[in-house]
C-alpha cells in the first residue's frame, strides 16, 4: 500500500518536476555577459562570430542557421508569435515589409542612425520606411548577366546589351547547338521578373499617402510578359526549374549558358559547377532601351533587431559592426563572400580578387560597383510572399496550358490586391 502511494507521488513529482525544470532553465541570469542569439543563412559565420566574441567578451553572439531567405523568414514569424525569436536576424529586403507589418523588427533608428552615412541612399531606403530604420543592410544583389564566355565566343555571339539582342543571342545559341540553351527563366523567379519589369518602368508596389497601388499587371509589366513568353514559345529559352540535378548537369557540361540574376549568381554557380571556373564572365544586365544603365536589385538582405530582444542596444551594436564597419565588411567579403551593401564594403571589394567562377575577369568588382551605382529604388509590399506563390503557380499553369503569360500577371495582381484589401489596406486598384 505504502509503495503504491510512493509510486503515485513519484509519478506526480516526475511530471511537475519536469515542468519546473523547464521554466527554470529558460530564465537566464541577467547579470554577467549578455548573450545574443542571431539567425542568418549562408557561409562564413564562424569567423565573423569568433572575431566579434573575442573583441566583445560582454556581448556574446550565438549563431543559428535557420534556413535560407524564405524558410528563415517563415520561422522568424512563427518564433516571434510564439515569443522566442532571436535577438538579431537576417531578413531579405523583399520580406522586410511583411515582417514590419507582423511587428517582428524593432525600430532601431535611435541606435543606428549614425550608420546612415555608410550606405548610399538607395540602399538605406531598402530598410528605412517613413523615417524609421528597421534593419541594417548587409548585402545587395544588383542584377547582372552571368554567362559562359567561352561558349558564346565559340558560337561567334556577342554579349547582349539589350533584351532584343538577348533574344537574338538565344536564337543564335539554338541555331548553333540545339542541345544548348541561353538561359532558363522559370516562374519561381519572381525576383527576376519584378526586376526586369522595374527596368521597364513598372512599380509592382507603391505607397503614397497611405494608399497602395499594385502594378504587377501594368502596361510595362504585361509587355515584359509578352516578350519572354515569345522567347519561350519559340523555344529560344527554357523555363525549367533552377539548380535541380538536371539543371546542374547542364551547367557542368556547358549547355546552360547564362543566368540573368543578382550579382551573387557567380557564387551559386561556383557551388554547383566549380570545374567550369574560368569559362564564365559577368556583364551588365541587358536593357529595354539601348544606352540605358539602370538595373534593379534581385535579392539582398539586412539585419534586424527583433522587438522581443532584451538587449536591443547591444544587438544593434553587433549589427552595426557587422555591416557598417571596416572590420565587418572585410569579413563580409572574405568569409561571408557576399557583395556588401555598404559604401566602404563596395570600395574594398573593388580592389579584391574576382569571384572564383571568373578568375580571369579582374575588373569584376569595378564593373559591379558601376552597375550598383545605377540601381532603381524598388518598394516591396507587405505580401510579397503571397505574390511569389501565386505568380509561380499561375505562370507555370499558363506555360503548361499554352495560355498567355499576361493572364498570369493579371491573376497575380488580382490575388495580391484582394489579399491586401482583405487585410484592411487601402488600395487604389479596382
Amino acid at each position: 500500500m505504502r509503495s503504491r502511494r510512493l509510486i503515485a507521488a513519484g509519478a506526480i513529482l516526475a511530471l511537475t518536476g519536469g515542468l519546473t525544470a523547464c521554466s527554470a532553465e529558460s530564465r537566464g541570469g541577467s547579470d554577467g555577459p549578455v548573450t545574443l542569439t542571431f539567425w542568418g543563412w549562408g557561409v562564413g559565420y564562424e569567423d565573423v562570430i569568433a572575431e566579434w566574441n573575442e573583441a566583445n567578451p560582454d556581448i556574446q553572439v550565438e549563431h543559428t542557421d535557420a534556413g535560407g531567405g524564405d524558410d528563415s523568414s517563415a520561422k522568424l514569424l512563427t518564433a516571434a508569435r510564439a515569443g522566442n525569436a532571436p535577438d538579431v536576424a537576417l531578413v531579405e529586403y523583399t520580406t522586410l515589409p511583411a515582417m514590419i507589418v507582423a511587428d517582428v523588427p524593432l525600430d532601431i533608428t535611435e541606435y543606428v542612425g549614425d550608420a546612415e552615412d555608410a550606405f548610399t541612399e538607395g540602399t538605406w531606403d531598402q530598410t528605412r520606411f517613413d523615417g524609421a530604420v528597421y534593419a541594417i543592410p548587409q548585402d545587395v544583389g544588383p542584377m547582372a548577366l552571368t554567362y559562359r564566355q567561352d561558349r558564346l565566343e565559340e558560337m561567334g555571339l556577342a554579349v547582349p546589351t539589350t533584351w532584343e539582342e538577348f533574344g537574338e543571342v538565344a536564337r543564335g545559341v539554338k541555331a548553333n547547338d540545339p542541345n544548348s540553351v541561353l538561359t532558363s527563366l522559370p516562374p519561381s523567379e519572381l525576383g527576376f521578373y519584378a526586376g526586369v519589369a522595374a527596368q521597364a518602368g513598372s512599380e509592382w508596389w507603391s505607397l503614397e499617402d497611405g494608399v497602395w497601388t499594385v502594378g504587377i499587371a501594368d502596361e510595362a509589366s504585361l509587355e515584359v510578359a509578352d516578350f519572354f513568353e515569345g522567347l519561350v514559345k519559340e523555344g529560344a529559352i527554357s523555363t525549367e526549374p533552377l539548380l535541380t540535378p538536371e539543371y546542374n548537369a547542364k551547367l557542368n557540361d556547358g549547355t546552360m549558358l547564362s543566368w540573368p540574376a543578382g550579382i551573387w549568381a557567380s557564387g551559386v554557380f561556383y557551388g554547383v559547377a566549380p570545374d567550369t571556373a574560368g569559362n564564365w564572365a559577368m556583364a551588365p544586365l541587358p536593357q529595354w532601351t539601348p544606352g540605358d544603365a539602370k538595373v534593379a536589385y534581385q535579392g539582398g538582405s539586412g539585419m534586424i533587431v527583433t522587438k522581443e530582444s532584451e538587449h536591443p542596444e547591444e544587438a544593434a551594436e553587433f549589427a552595426k559592426w557587422f555591416n557598417a564597419s571596416e572590420d565587418g565588411n572585410e569579413l563580409l567579403l572574405s568569409s561571408r563572400q557576399v557583395y556588401p551593401a555598404s559604401i566602404v564594403g563596395q570600395e574594398m571589394a573593388a580592389s579584391s580578387e574576382p569571384p572564383a567562377l571568373m578568375p580571369q575577369q579582374t575588373t569584376f568588382y569595378e564593373e559591379a560597383a558601376a552597375i550598383s551605382a545605377e540601381t532603381i529604388p524598388v518598394t516591396w509590399g507587405p505580401n510579397v510572399n503571397l505574390a511569389k506563390m501565386v505568380f509561380e503557380d499561375r505562370l507555370n499553369k499558363a506555360i503548361a496550358d499554352g495560355t498567355p503569360w499576361r493572364d498570369a500577371f493579371i491573376a497575380t495582381q488580382e490575388a495580391v490586391v484582394d489579399d491586401m484589401k482583405t487585410s484592411g489596406y487601402e488600395v487604389s486598384n479596382d
Binding site: M1, A102, A132, E240, P241, T244, M389, D393
Partner: protein, 325 residues
C-alpha cells in the same frame, strides 16, 4: 494494459483492508481513485498534445490577421472573424482541385500498394518458397528508407539527364521519358509511395497469415484444395481484418500526402504550391503568413479524414454482420 490490471488490484485492496480490520471505506476510496491514477498519464498526454492543440487550431480558424493603423504600413493584429476563413477556404477552387489530384493519386497508390503487399505476403507464405527471410527483408527495406531520401532518390531517377530509364529509352531511340510532366506525374508520385509502402503492409498481412492455425490448411488439402485455392479461399478471408487495417492506414496516408510532392517540387514546374491539400496548408501557415486559413483547412481535412475512416469501417462492419446473419 490499464483496464486489465485494474480488476485484480482493486480486489486485493478490498481484501487487505478487510483482513487488517481497517475501515473498509478507506480501501474503497483508494480503489475508486486507482483507475484514474493509472489512466492519468495517458489522459494528460492526450489532453496536452491532442485536445488542446486541436481546440487551439479550431479557435485560430475563427480568427484572422487584420490591419490596424500605426507606423508606415500599419500592423496586422489578430481579430475574430467567425466563419470567414471557412467560406474563403471552401470557395477556393484550387483547394478543391488539390483534393481531386489527391484522389487520383490515391486511386493509383492505395490498391497497388495493398494488392502487391497481399501478393508478396501470400507468396512468402507458400511452403515451397525458398530464401524467405532474404526476400522478406528485401521487400521490407524500402520502408526503412526515410521518405524524403526516397523521394530525392526517385527524383534523380526521373529527371531526364540523370535518369537511368531515360538513358535506356534514349539509347533505344525513343527519347527521354517525361516522368515529371503532365499526367505521368501521378504515376511517378504514386510509385514512390508504393515502393516505400509495400514492405510495411506486407509484414502486417504476413504476420496475420502466420497466425492462422495449420489445421485449416490441412483440412483444405484433405478436401483437395491446391495452394492457389488455399490462398484465395482460406488465407485471404482470414487475413481480412489485417487488410482492413492496412486499407485504413493507406487511406489516411493518402490524405497526408505531402512529403513526395514537396520534395519533387523543386525539380518540376508541374507541381504547384497547392498541388496537395497539405501543401496548401503549409503555404498558408508558413509562407504567406495566413495561419488562420491554414487552421480552417486543417480542421476541414481532419473532419474529412474522420468521416472517411468511419465510412470505411462502417462498410466493413456491415459486411461482417451481413455475413453472420
Amino acid at each position: 494494459m490499464t483496464t486489465s490490471n485494474l480488476a485484480p488490484v482493486k480486489s486485493t485492496v478490498a481484501r487487505t483492508a478487510g483482513r487488517n480490520g481497517a475501515p473498509p471505506k478507506r480501501g474503497r476510496i483508494r480503489g475508486r481513485f486507482a483507475p484514474y491514477l493509472f489512466a492519468a498519464p495517458a489522459v494528460v498526454l492526450y489532453v496536452v498534445f491532442m485536445l488542446i492543440p486541436v481546440l487551439y487550431a479550431i479557435w485560430l480558424s475563427l480568427r484572422a490577421y487584420r490591419l490596424q493603423s500605426g507606423g508606415t504600413f500599419g500592423r496586422r493584429v489578430e481579430v475574430f472573424v467567425g466563419l470567414e476563413n471557412y467560406t474563403a477556404v471552401l470557395s477556393d477552387p484550387e483547394l478543391l482541385a488539390s483534393f481531386g489530384r489527391m484522389a487520383v493519386y490515391g486511386i493509383i497508390a492505395v490498391p497497388l500498394t495493398l494488392g502487391l503487399a497481399l501478393l508478396f505476403a501470400l507468396l512468402l507464405d507458400v511452403p515451397a518458397v525458398r530464401a524467405k527471410r532474404f526476400s522478406r527483408t528485401a521487400i521490407f527495406i524500402p520502408y526503412a528508407v526515410p521518405g524524403v531520401v526516397a523521394a530525392l532518390m526517385w527524383g534523380f531517377m526521373y529527371l531526364p539527364s540523370t535518369s537511368p530509364f531515360s538513358y535506356i529509352s534514349e539509347q533505344m531511340g525513343f527519347g527521354t521519358i517525361p516522368f515529371l510532366e503532365g499526367n505521368a506525374l501521378f504515376g511517378s508520385l504514386a510509385n514512390i509511395a508504393i515502393w516505400g509502402g509495400v514492405g510495411f503492409n506486407m509484414i502486417i498481412i504476413y504476420t496475420s497469415l502466420r497466425g492462422i492455425p495449420a489445421e485449416l490448411y490441412e483440412a483444405a488439402r484433405l478436401d483437395g484444395a491446391n495452394e492457389f485455392q488455399i490462398a484465395l479461399r482460406v488465407k485471404v478471408p482470414l487475413v481480412g481484418p489485417a487488410i482492413v487495417l492496412t486499407t485504413v492506414f493507406a487511406l489516411i496516408g493518402t490524405l497526408q500526402l505531402y512529403g513526395e510532392p514537396m520534395t519533387l517540387k523543386p525539380m518540376t514546374n508541374d507541381i504547384s504550391q497547392t498541388w496537395a491539400p497539405l501543401m496548401t496548408i503549409y503555404r498558408d501557415a508558413f509562407l504567406t503568413d495566413n495561419l488562420p486559413a491554414a487552421a480552417a483547412s486543417s480542421t476541414l481535412l481532419a473532419l474529412g479524414t474522420v468521416a472517411l475512416s468511419l465510412i470505411i469501417l462502417g462498410i466493413v462492419n456491415r459486411k461482417k454482420f451481413g455475413e453472420r446473419a
